[in-house]
């Protein structure tokens, strides 16, 4: 039986990079922020594959 995923793609795509880094007290310049953004985008592509394996709701998991 498949396990239930948390389906947090929404949270991932909504990350405000500048704000999130400020909240964590990480200081970098704009150039680095841009590369961080690219990396989050790449991670999102991989996460899409991960979340595709997991069923989004407990009910669907039970059906599987």
């Amino acid at each position: 039986m498949l396990m239930k995923g948390s389906d947090c793609m929404g949270k991932l795509t909504e990350i405000d990079i500048t704000e999130a880094m400020r909240a964590l007290n990480i200081e970098v310049n704009d150039e680095v922020s841009l590369v961080v953004r690219e990396n989050i985008a790449l991670i999102s592509i991989h996460y899409d594959l991960v979340s595709g394996v997991l069923c989004p709701s407990k009910a669907e998991c039970e059906e599987t």
């Binding site: 999130a20 990480i26 991670i43």
Partner: protein
């Protein structure tokens, strides 16, 4: 045979039988390091005085009839993330050079020293082990001894290149997503990633704790076995595998077609006629990618807060991206990793060993940031470990062995067994060596100096 071409087993036997002194062995290796390492850039630190002093002490002990261990006088070196008493553990980061020297050796370093091995230095790596290239903004790029214009692979590139070039017969590295198997493949040496948790990680700077595994490099299966026996203090019994399967499906699509054809020819030679598809391989690779960013990033939160710009630029942005990820991303990745592990372990009820290429391509040029896999341009630094990364999720032991090729650069094959089955892999590798199917290709880096 030249001393620097000898195996660890041969060196320790000759020293114990008093055919050669430990001093002569260490001097020969130090001479070779002095000659070749300025170009290769394997070492971050060479412990010349300490190594010579230990060699002299060992010779005196032998002369006095004292007991010496199985690795008596064998020079070795470790990736610069193993604690070495008296040195700071840099983990490939310039910012850690000024940290306090550690008081004790890592458990596995201590085990090798207790068996008489002599530590000769620390080795280059990608900063904090985050990369498959050993391109380090602070400590430079380690070159491939087979072609100085090419990458040695990473992140344990210094460990693989040093063994390949005869600077040491054995070395230690670490493998999270393929950091032993990738450089072993590109440099044409043997690299063992044991069962996850099979070797103590105490005193080893972490990267992604749930995947980190101490690994061993050597030029033969015998030497890998010898080191593993010494570290784990148990003898390995030979068990030859009977049924071999060839990983296919997603793995085929990630491999250079010519190299894949060579893998299939090798498989035919050994009677491995069944192809094995593991449906979650691609998702497991992605899970590894996500897990590494998230777990690695979280480990570095305080470092990023205090000095983000002090990190290697190629590592910094990936760690920051990882630290920004919500926890749910990591949890989901771990769930998929666990599902994949279940699928892999099920295959071992049918097969004793599974095989796959270790890297999708041979060593790429240092000057090129990208590699081409089946016509698609992808980053070398992130993708050289594509074929290793999913296997890490299963926690099983993997031995990368150098395929004997008619021509061309080295390429490794992953021999994969179920949890705790290292003995099967080593016995299998020895049988393949005996048939002339695998073995270290000599690097074309000039003459091997006389010792």
């Amino acid at each position: 045979m030249l001393i620097t071409q000898c195996s660890a087993f041969e060196i320790s036997s000759q020293i114990r039988e008093r055919k050669i002194s430990a001093e002569k062995v260490i001097t020969a290796h130090l001479d070779r390091i002095r000659k070749l390492d300025p170009t290769l850039n394997c070492f971050t630190k060479v412990l010349e005085k300490e190594a010579l002093s230990e060699a002299l002490a060992l010779d005196a002990k032998i002369a006095a009839g004292g007991d010496v261990g199985e690795l008596a006088g064998v020079p070795f070196a470790v990736k610069d993330l193993f604690d070495v008493a008296g040195l700071p553990t840099t983990a490939g980061a310039r910012m850690r050079e000024l940290t306090a020297p550690v008081k004790e050796d890592a458990v596995c370093v201590s085990a090798l020293r207790s068996a008489g091995a002599i530590l000769i230095g620390t080795l280059n790596m990608d900063e904090f082990a985050y990369g498959f290239a050993t391109v380090n903004a602070h400590f430079g790029t380690t070159k491939n001894p087979h072609d100085m214009q090419r990458l040695a692979g990473g992140s344990s590139g210094g460990s693989a290149a040093a063994v390949c070039a005869g600077l040491v017969p054995i070395s230690l590295g670490s493998d999270t997503n393929g950091s032993v198997r990738v450089p072993a493949s590109l440099c044409g040496v043997y690299g063992l990633r044991p069962t996850h948790g099979g070797i103590s990680e105490e005193g080893v700077y972490p990267f992604v704790k749930s995947l980190d595994t101490v690994g061993i490099f050597a030029r033969s299966a015998d030497d890998i076995e010898l080191v593993l026996e010494v570290i784990n203090q148990n003898e390995i019994d030979a068990v030859l595998p009977e049924k071999i399967g060839v990983l296919s499906g997603w793995f085929d699509g990630q491999s250079d077609p010519e190299l894949l054809a060579e893998l299939h020819a090798f498989a035919e030679c050994i009677g491995a006629t069944e192809f094995v598809d593991i449906p979650l391989a691609e998702a497991a690779r992605s899970a590894g990618f996500v897990e590494t960013a998230a777990e690695g990033g979280k480990l570095h939160l305080s470092g990023l807060q205090s000095d983000a710009m002090g990190y290697d630029p190629a590592v910094r942005s990936r760690l920051i991206a990882g630290v920004l990820l919500p926890d749910c991303v990591l949890n989901d990745a771990k769930q998929v990793g666990a599902l994949f592990k279940q699928q892999v372990l099920e295959k071992f009820s049918e097969f004793d060993v599974l095989i796959a290429l270790s890297t999708p391509v041979c060593a790429p040029l240092i000057s090129e940031n990208d590699i081409k896999i089946r016509g698609k341009q992808v980053s070398a630094r992130a993708n050289l470990g594509t074929l290793c990364q999913p296997i890490s999720q299963a926690g099983v032991p993997v031995l990368s062995v150098p395929l004997k090729r008619k021509s061309g650069l080295p390429i490794g094959i992953q021999l994969i067994a179920s949890i705790g089955q290292e003995a099967k892999l080593l016995a299998f590798a020895k049988s393949l060596e005996a048939r002339g199917l695998i073995g270290q290709p000599m690097p074309s880096m000039g003459e091997m100096p006389s010792c």
